[in-house]
């Protein structure tokens, strides 16, 4: 990276400017950057363990609990522990929970007519959420490292981050395009089906080519590219949605997406809490309490809550699936607000040392 940064000696032009990390280089690159997912993915692939029905897959339920389930709950814990959240977002913090319960109730009452639409909505939204997280984190590191983005460049970075979502939208079998277009329409139009498949293949290629073009464009236009960790975040999300899916191993991506989220949300939570007047706890205590609350709530939401609906007379299958769907959708909505940088304490966390 330093050699690249020194490509233009005597000037401030940098293709890969050094990233200003939150904790340490190894921690940020491995967890938030997603580097650990690539290392684990390669190790699993080389040992033939990448995919379903392998001994390594036996760990997945535990990893899903401690990472993915906890990360969904973490956005809720973050919302209610964020200073001023009730005042800032009254509907989000006080109205949305009951609205979520109502939507779940309706979906459970009519699982065959409404439930599967809710499921398809969450499956369609999920890759967008992953892509938006990659975009947010990539920009966050860029701004934190002293970079700026003009409106056009910001849109180009956003578009690059969204490519895995476009791929997933075209490729999904029970969501995305397959949900929005009537199945009979595609079934009766082999040419259209082939077109969608071909388009998906091109988008998959673009996922990995566009970052190179964008890097060149940013360097040419402003003389300063995104830091390496931003590219790592963007490319890793592409690998999750294309390579991991190809190997039927996307479940591993959900684990590392959760880890990525937990790492960054804990950093923001700790910085907010430590900065509060009268704080008596250290960063580690705040981090552990935050994670414990997220883990506990994650267990209650995903593994306990559905049994209440079973007790109320619904099947456990639809209860588990539809609880998971509304938890996901609630998480996507909450995330739209709690990560705002403008006029928010988040901006201080991003820019401060």
């Amino acid at each position: 990276m330093s050699s690249l940064a020194a490509a233009a000696p005597g000037s401030s032009r940098q293709l890969l400017p050094p990233a200003r990390v939150f904790v340490s280089r190894p921690f940020d690159y491995l967890t938030i950057g997603g580097g650990l997912s690539l290392l684990v993915g390669v190790a699993l692939a080389l040992s033939g363990q990448l995919g379903a029905d392998t001994p390594a897959a036996a760990w997945i339920p535990f990893l899903v609990l401690v990472s993915n389930s906890a990360h969904f709950a973490a956005s809720t814990v973050r919302l209610y522990t964020k200073p001023g959240a009730f005042r800032l977002w009254p509907f989000l913090s006080m109205g949305l929970p009951l609205a979520t319960l109502a939507v779940l109730g309706v979906a459970l009452l009519w699982p065959e007519r409404i439930g599967w639409h809710l499921q398809a909505l969450y499956l369609t939204w999920s890759p967008f959420h992953y892509a938006a997280q990659a975009f947010g984190l990539a920009c966050m590191y860029h701004y934190r490292s002293g970079g700026t983005l003009g409106e056009l460049d910001r849109r180009l970075v956003f578009g690059t981050c969204m490519l895995p979502f476009v791929f997933a939208f075209l490729d999904a079998r029970e969501a995305g395009l397959a949900w929005l277009l009537p199945a009979q329409l595609l079934a009766g139009q082999p040419l259209l089906e082939q077109l969608v498949r071909t388009l998906g293949g091109w988008v998959a290629l673009l996922v990995f080519v566009t970052p190179l073009l964008l890097a060149a464009r940013l360097y040419a236009s402003s003389g300063r590219g995104l830091p390496a960790i931003s590219w790592l975040i963007i490319v890793t999300n592409g690998i999750w949605w294309i390579v991991f899916r190809f190997y039927d191993a996307f479940i591993w991506a959900t684990v590392f997406h959760g880890l990525q989220y937990l790492a960054i949300v804990t950093i923001f939570h700790v910085k907010d809490q430590v900065a509060r007047p009268g704080n008596r706890r250290g960063p580690l205590a705040h981090a552990m309490l935050f994670y414990a609350a997220s883990l506990g709530l994650g267990y209650l939401l995903f593994y306990v809550w559905p049994f209440a609906y079973r007790l109320a007379g619904f099947g456990l299958a639809e209860s588990m699936l539809l609880c998971a769907a509304v938890i996901n959708i609630h998480h996507f909505i909450v995330d739209r607000y709690i990560w705002r940088l403008r006029k928010d304490t988040n901006y201080r966390v991003v820019t401060e040392g």
Binding site: F86, G95, L101, Y303, R310, M320
Partner: protein, 228 residues
């Protein structure tokens, strides 16, 4: 100003009561009560059914448990709804898991299609393509390939089992029953008994279905007695 512990919580609640509108307060309290009550009730129900709400399992976990207990009708409804709401993820989690094909990615299916084009007389190629299409959920194309494989060589290992499952997924209960009975003569695998149980159950042959579910359960409980 201390903001931690009970005192901090009390301050937060006092500030919330001052600042939030009464309507929002009522909505929030209603949601908290509903969620708190749901968690408590859910925990009790989870303990009653499983000892503790399990982390290992998916939406078919209760269906499997009900099969073990002999409550076949409820188990079937659990599987039916799991498959209906999320066929992509949970379709393969039904009891016929060991007969699931390798992941039927579009690329893999295309490769297998190419194989059948290059060697249209290969029953094995048609069988593999049928399996991959089945894993993708393309039942019509899967059945076409599997039936072509049967026409070419009906004695291929695993063909009857796969055909039985495909017919079952397609709702062709009689054809499924026929194929699964043939498959069971070659391999008395517990999953095949489960599949046949489903095919029979759907035709209203509840007693015979129950016998096959019981047989599957017995075979699973005595793995050492099964042929490797």
């Amino acid at each position: 100003m201390p903001v931690e512990g009970a005192e901090g919580l009390a301050q937060t609640i006092a500030a919330w009561r001052r600042e939030a509108s009464p309507i929002y307060q009522a909505l929030f309290l209603a949601a908290l009560l509903a969620l708190g009550g749901s968690f408590a009730a859910g925990f009790v129900e989870g303990v009653r059914l499983f000892g503790l709400p399990p982390i290992q399992g998916d939406a078919t976990v209760l269906g499997r448990a009900l099969l073990e207990r002999g409550d076949y009708a409820t188990a079937l409804e659990e599987f039916r709804l799991a498959g209906l709401i999320d066929p992509e993820t949970y379709g393969a989690s039904r009891p016929q898991l060991s007969f699931s094909a390798a992941p039927g990615s579009p690329e893999r299916v295309e490769r297998l299609r190419q194989s059948t084009r290059e060697d249209p007389g290969s029953a094995g190629a048609h069988l593999e393509l049928g399996r991959a299409l089945l894993a993708q959920g393309d039942l019509v194309a899967s059945l076409q390939s599997l039936e072509r494989a049967r026409d070419l060589d009906p004695r291929q290992p695993g063909l009857d089992a796969t055909l039985g499952r495909a017919y079952l997924e397609a709702g062709k209960w009689v054809e499924s029953e026929r194929a699964l009975r043939a498959a069971l003569t070659a391999d008395p695998h517990p999953d095949l008994h489960d599949l046949l149980g489903f095919a029979l159950h759907e035709q209203g042959k509840r007693d015979e279905a129950a016998q096959h579910f019981e047989r599957a359960r017995t075979l699973r409980a005595q793995p050492a007695e099964r042929a490797p």
